[in-house]
């Protein structure tokens, strides 16, 4: 037990749970049918991959708000190895395992 429980924090947590429900259900909370323009349907083909790339790529190439200054970073090699594995064998678990097999030695031994 490191911290103490307070009601304000619990209230924020309940609020965040509300945010999860609101965002995950956003367009199907109301019964009223919405007509969607065609361009929005097309946009949906790109939005999911754009969102994932927007989350994932900074996690790989950035350190405390800046691009990694050189290639001494285990995350880059791990991600490249993982992606290469994916396009070779098509498995998400394998992608993770191959990536970690590259990441852990570089990270723990060389502190990259």
């Amino acid at each position: 037990m490191s911290g103490s429980t307070d009601w304000w924090t619990l209230a924020v947590i309940v609020g965040l749970a509300g945010v999860t429900v609101l965002t995950r259900c956003f367009f199907f909370i109301l019964d009223r049918p919405w007509g969607l323009p065609d361009w929005a349907h097309r946009a949906l083909h790109y939005a999911p991959i754009a969102a994932l790339a927007g989350v994932v790529i900074p996690e790989i190439v950035m350190t405390s708000g800046h691009l990694v200054p050189n290639l001494h970073d285990a995350r880059i090699y791990a991600a490249v190895a993982g992606a290469a594995y994916y396009f070779w064998k098509r498995g998400v678990l394998g992608t993770m395992l191959v990536g970690m097999a590259v990441y852990l030695p570089l990270h723990l031994r060389l502190a990259w």
Binding site: T20, A50, G54
Partner: protein
């Protein structure tokens, strides 16, 4: 909705479980690190458990932790969570035609439990919403099977992470397994040249706009990538629907 045995009995429930199972380890590792991070940043065990069980959204949890610890105002924490979660708004628009035939409580329960992986797997397995009752039952069962695995592995490993607390050093970098799982999912979505381009534009934009507050760089990245790809598609690709299914 895995508490309803009528859904669990559908054969597509098992199919959803099977398809999601390979991702479970990555989600579990990510949950483990989130659990450890919550306790180590000074939240109490009760707060960390409440956050795990209720919020059920790793990225907004991780973004909220430093704000909670710093005592940021209520609305700032919630606004940050909303921005980090904006991708779900996009997902919900996509999921609407699949779920609208259900009563509100039922579709909102499904919505609440459907996170990134479940959404991605469900919509790539079923590119079109069901049109018959039989198809509807199958789709609901497949979706439920998928998020059942996600929920159990996330919750189980997060709670273990909270319990282990300070025993696992952050320096091992096990949280990176979650990022690597997302790399795999990202590759699996790269089914056309325009989608690869969307990923590259979004990644570059998210890096360039990293200094924006509230994780808004991700929102900007989505906007820029979608608009640019849409513009390229209109101007240079005669048949975008065919390009899609390469």
């Amino acid at each position: 909705m895995f508490f309803l045995s009528s859904i669990r009995r559908e054969p597509m429930f098992k199919e959803g479980v099977r398809n999601m199972a390979p991702v479970a380890m990555g989600i579990g590792a990510w949950g483990l690190m989130t659990g450890v991070a919550m306790v180590k940043s000074g939240m109490s065990v009760i707060e960390a458990v409440a956050m795990t069980l209720l919020v059920y959204a790793g990225s907004s949890q991780l973004a909220a932790i430093p704000l909670l610890v710093a005592g940021a105002p209520f609305w700032v924490v919630l606004a940050t969570g909303f921005c980090v979660n904006l991708r779900f708004v996009v997902f919900s628009l996509h999921l609407r035609p699949y779920l609208m035939y259900m009563p509100r409580w039922r579709r909102m329960t499904h919505g609440y439990l459907t996170a990134d992986m479940s959404y991605a797997m469900f919509t790539s397995h079923y590119p079109e919403p069901a049109s018959t009752d039989e198809q509807r039952r199958a789709q609901e069962a497949y979706l439920t099977g998928g998020y059942c695995v996600t929920w159990v592995s996330w919750m189980g490993m997060s709670l273990i992470g909270i319990a282990l607390g300070n025993l696992i050093p952050q320096s091992w970098g096990l949280g990176f397994a979650g990022v690597l799982s997302l790399v795999g999912i990202l590759c699996s979505m790269a089914t056309s040249r325009l989608r690869v381009l969307a990923a590259l534009i979004a990644g570059a934009t998210a890096v360039a706009a990293y200094a924006l507050p509230l994780k808004l760089n991700i929102v900007v990245a989505i906007g820029v990538a979608v608009l640019l790809c849409f513009w390229i598609e209109k101007g240079f690709v005669p048949n975008p629907a065919a390009e899609d299914d390469v």
